[in-house]
Symmetry: C2
Subunit: 506 residues, 2 copies
C-alpha cells in the first residue's frame, strides 16, 4: 500500500466517498490509486473553481465532506474563491493539494509556490504530509477537522513522494466533538422573558428544519422577532415549515429590520455587519443599545421547551403563484419557479439582483432547501449546484444564476452532463453586472463616465448562453416570453439530466 492508497482508503472508511478533482502530474499516484478503493467516486471538473464549488455544494447537502484533489499552488489558486465561500458556509471539505516531492522543492521548479500560505487564507486546518506512513492519519485528522465544529475547509498538502512511497496505512478519525459553547439556555430564557424587544437571528445549522421549528416556537411564545442571516448555507423552507425572513443585503434594510431591538440572540450566525463599507454609513449593524447573546443551534429546542412549552411553531401554508404571462423579467421568472417548484427541490441561488423576487414567490411551494452565496465570491452557483446534485441524486436541483456570475465557472455544465445530474440552470440574462450599477452610485461615485459604465456592461458582444451550453452538451433554450420560460422550465423539470434556460430579461 502506498501513501495515496492509504489516503483514499482512510477517506472511504470515514465516509468520504466522493472526490472532485482536476489533477496534474504530481497527483498521478493519487489518480492511479482511485481504482484500488471501489467506494471512492471520482468526479472530474474542467477547472478547479468547479471542483471546489462542487465540494461546497456536496458538503452542504450530504453533511459529510467531499474530498478535492488539486494541482499545486496554481490549482489551489483557481479553486480559492469557492473555498472561500465554503469557509463562510462552514461546509466540511477535505481539500487535498498535491505538491512536488519533498526533495524537489529546493529546486524552485516552475510550478513551485507557497501553497501553505495560500491554503491558510481559506482553511481552518492546514497540514503537510511528509511521509507515506503519515498520510493516512493526516487524512483522518483532516476529516475530523473538516467536521469541526465548526465545519470548514481542512487542507492536506500532499507531496508526490508521500503519495507514491510505500508504507501507506489507514488512519483513524477522532470522534466528533460536541460544540464547545456553554449551555446558556436559562440566561437566554431570562432575556426573552424580560419584556424588552428581542431579535432571534438564525444561521448555519439553526436554519435546518429542527432549528427553525424550535425558534418559531420561541418567537411565537415571546414575541421575539425571528430573522435568518442574509446568506445562509442551506435554508429549509416551503410549505409546512416555519417561514423566516432573511436580513437584507443592504445595510439600511438590515437597520430597519433590527430597529428597536434591545437584545440580539444569535444561533449559528454572527452579529450582522455591512457587506461592504460605504462612505458615511455604519459597518456594525447591531443597534447602539442592543446586547448580543449567543446560543448554539443544538440548544434551541431546549430553549423552546423552557420559554415556549406547549406552543407550536408557526408554519407556512401551501400556496403557489399563477403561471406567469407576458414579458420575461425577474418577477415572471420567479412566478414560474413558485408555480412549478417540485417537492424536495434544492435551489442554488446566485441570481443576485435579478433573483430579488424568487424567494417570495416560492415561500409556499413544497418543502425545499435554498443554498446561497455565503462568501460573496461569485462563480459559486453552477459548481455548488453540481455538487449538490452529486450528493442528492434523487432530488431536483434548480440553479438560479446571474449572467455575469455564470461566466466565472460555466465549465460546471460539462460535469453535469458527464455525471448525468438532474440540474436545471436558469440564466438571468440582463447583459450587465447590474449589482455594480447599483453599487457604483451607493459608494458615492455618481459621476460615472462612459469608460466606467462600460466596465459594468456585458453586452458588446452579447453572450449566447444557449450556444455556450450546447458547446458542453447541455440541452438549452432561450426564453423571451414568460409563457415560453414556464413551458421550458416545466419540460426541464420533467426530463432527467441537465438543462439550461437562457431567460432574456426585459
Amino acid at each position: 500500500m502506498n501513501g495515496a492508497q492509504g489516503l483514499i482508503r482512510t477517506l472511504a472508511d470515514a465516509g468520504v466517498t466522493v472526490c472532485f478533482t482536476n489533477p496534474g502530474t504530481s497527483e498521478m499516484h493519487f489518480v492511479a490509486a482511485l481504482d484500488t478503493v471501489p467506494e471512492m467516486r471520482a468526479v472530474l471538473g474542467l477547472f478547479e473553481g468547479v471542483v471546489t464549488g462542487a465540494a461546497d455544494g456536496y458538503g452542504r447537502m450530504a453533511d459529510v465532506p467531499a474530498a478535492t484533489l488539486l494541482h499545486l499552488g496554481p490549482g489551489l489558486g483557481n479553486g480559492l474563491a469557492n473555498l472561500h465561500n465554503a469557509r463562510r458556509a462552514h461546509t466540511p471539505v477535505v481539500n487535498i493539494v498535491g505538491d512536488h516531492a519533498t526533495y524537489h522543492k529546493q529546486y524552485d521548479a516552475p510550478l513551485e509556490s507557497d501553497i501553505d500560505a495560500m491554503a491558510g487564507t481559506v482553511s481552518q486546518w492546514v497540514r503537510r504530509s511528509m511521509k507515506p506512513d503519515e498520510v493516512g492519519q493526516d487524512a483522518a485528522d483532516a476529516v475530523a477537522a473538516a467536521f469541526g465544529p465548526p465545519g470548514g475547509v481542512a487542507t492536506l498538502i500532499l507531496p508526490a513522494d508521500a503519495s507514491w512511497g510505500d508504507g501507506g496505512s489507514v488512519g483513524t478519525v477522532a470522534p466528533r466533538r460536541a460544540s464547545a459553547a456553554d449551555r446558556p439556555v436559562d440566561d437566554i430564557a431570562a432575556v426573552l422573558r424580560s419584556g424588552e424587544a428581542a431579535v432571534l437571528l438564525l444561521g448555519g445549522d439553526a436554519v435546518r428544519e429542527p432549528g427553525l421549528r424550535a425558534a418559531s416556537r420561541v418567537a411565537a411564545a415571546t414575541n421575539a422577532k425571528l430573522f435568518c442571516e442574509t446568506f445562509p448555507a442551506r435554508l429549509a423552507r416551503g410549505a409546512g415549515r416555519p417561514p423566516i425572513e432573511r436580513l437584507g443585503y443592504l445595510a439600511e434594510f438590515t437597520a430597519a429590520q433590527l430597529a428597536g431591538a434591545r437584545h440580539l440572540i444569535v444561533a449559528g450566525a454572527k452579529a450582522p455587519v455591512s457587506f461592504f463599507a460605504y462612505p458615511g454609513k455604519p459597518s456594525d449593524l447591531v443597534p447602539d443599545d442592543c446586547s448580543v447573546w449567543s446560543i448554539p443551534p443544538e440548544h434551541l429546542e431546549a430553549l423552546a421547551d423552557v420559554v415556549a412549552n406547549g406552543t407550536n411553531p408557526v408554519v407556512q401554508p401551501a400556496s403557489r403563484p399563477d403561471r406567469p404571462t407576458g414579458v420575461v423579467n425577474g418577477e415572471t421568472v420567479a412566478a414560474a419557479l413558485g408555480a412549478l417548484l417540485p417537492e424536495g427541490a434544492i435551489v442554488v441561488d446566485e441570481a443576485n439582483t435579478s433573483g430579488l423576487w424568487a424567494s417570495g414567490a416560492t415561500v409556499g411551494a413544497p418543502a425545499h432547501d435554498w443554498l446561497t452565496l455565503t462568501g460573496g465570491a461569485i462563480g459559486q452557483g453552477l459548481p455548488t449546484a453540481t455538487g449538490a446534485a452529486v450528493a442528492c441524486p434523487d432530488r431536483p436541483v434548480i440553479s438560479l444564476e446571474a449572467d455575469g456570475s455564470a461566466m466565472y465557472t460555466l465549465q460546471s455544465l460539462w460535469t453535469q452532463v458527464r455525471e448525468g445530474l438532474d440540474v436545471t440552470t436558469v440564466i438571468f440574462n440582463n447583459r450587465s453586472y447590474a449589482i455594480l450599477n447599483m453599487e457604483l452610485s451607493r459608494v458615492g461615485a455618481e459621476a460615472a463616465g462612459p469608460k466606467a459604465l462600460s466596465m459594468l456592461d456585458l453586452s458588446n458582444p452579447d453572450l449566447d448562453f444557449v450556444s455556450l451550453a450546447k458547446g458542453m452538451g447541455v440541452d438549452a433554450v432561450q426564453a423571451t416570453t414568460a409563457e415560453d420560460f414556464t413551458a421550458a422550465f416545466e419540460r426541464a423539470l420533467a426530463e432527467p439530466g441537465p438543462h439550461l434556460i437562457d431567460a432574456l430579461l426585459s
Copy 2:
C-alpha cells in the same frame, strides 16, 4: 482629487495606460475615476484569470506593465494562476487589488480574507495603501518594483477608503535601476577559451534578437553549444534571426542535451531542473562535473566582442513547409502554421503535447515572437494572447491552445471580440489531457484502472469549441482535414478580428 484619481493619473504619467479589470463594489471609485484620465484604457475580462493573463501578455510584448484591478481576496485568487505564470516570466505587472475600507476590516465581513498572504505567493513587492494621499506614491513605487530588475508582479492593495477619500496626489516613479550583477565578461571569456565543453543557456531578455545575435556569435567562435530555456517568456525567432534549440521538457532529453558539458553559462535563465520529480530520477539537471556561470543578458554583446570579434551570428534561412494535405493532426496543423505564418506574428503557445511539431515547422517562417507557458499553470494561452494583441494592435496574434487548457479561461474570447483584437485561436482538440496520460506512466503509476483513466479523458461529453466560441461572438469553424484547416487558417489571418479554428485531431 481622490485617492483613485491620483492613482490612475500616476499610472498614466508612468506610461501604464492599460488596465485589465473585473471590478466589484470595493473598486467602484477606481472605476469612476477612469474617465478622469483620458490616457487610461480599461479592458474588461469576464473572469480574473483572463485579466491577469492578459496583463502578462501585455507586459511581455509592451515591455511596460499593464495594471490589473481585482476584487478583494477572491478576485485575486481567481487571478493567481496567471500571476504565477507572470512571476515566472518576469513580466512587469502592477497588480491592484481592492479591499474593504480600512475601518471595515475588523468586522470580518463575508468577503474579508488575508489578501496580503495570498498576494505574497506571486508578488515580488506587496504594499497596502492606507491613506488617499499615499496612494499615488505607492502606485509609483509599484511601477518601479514591477520594472525591477528583475521584472515581476508588484501588488498594491487598495482599501476602498484610500480610494474614495480626498487628498489624492500624483506619485513619482524612481529611475530604473541597472541590473545589480557584476560584469564577469572576462571570467566568462576565459571559461569559453579553456577548450572545455561549454553550454550557453539563454532565457528572459537574452532571447530577444540582440541577445540571440550576440550569443550566436559567441557559439560560432568558441564551439559552445547554445540553448534556450524550456519555457521562454518571449523568444525572437524565424528567418534572419539566430535559431536556438530549447531545452527539453522531459528531464532525460535535457540530460542528453547537456551531456558532456563542463561549463554551463546562463544568461537570463536559471540552471535547469526537472519540471516535476519522478521516482528514481534526478531533479537537478546540471551534469555532475559541470560548473555553472552566470552573465547578465545585457553583457552578452560585450562578451561577443571579446571572444568573437569579427564573427557573424548564424542566422536562420527562410524556408516554409508545403501546405499540408490529409488528416488533421499535430504535424499537419504545424505545417499549415509554417506555410502561412505572417511576418511579425506573435505566437502564444499553450498547445502542450499537440504542439510538439509547431516550433520546428515555423523555424524558417518570417520573423516572429513565441510566447510560452512559463509557470506551468494552464489556462495561460488565451488570456496572454488577448493581452499581447492589446499591446501590439498591428501584429497578428496566433494562439495555439490545447483543449484542456482552453477550458480554464475560455472567457478570453469575449474580450477579444469586445476589443476587436486580431487573434486567431487554434484549438488542438484531442479530447483528452494527453500530457497526463504520458505523465501517469512516467511517474511509475502504470496500473491505471478505468476510474483513473477517466480523469484524463475529455470526451463524454465532447466539447464543441465552435459552439462555445460562437456563444461569445467569435467567428469559429471546425476543421477535420488538413486542407480545411489550412484554408480556415488562411482566411482567419486575412480577416481582422478574432477567429477560432477547432482542429479535431485524428
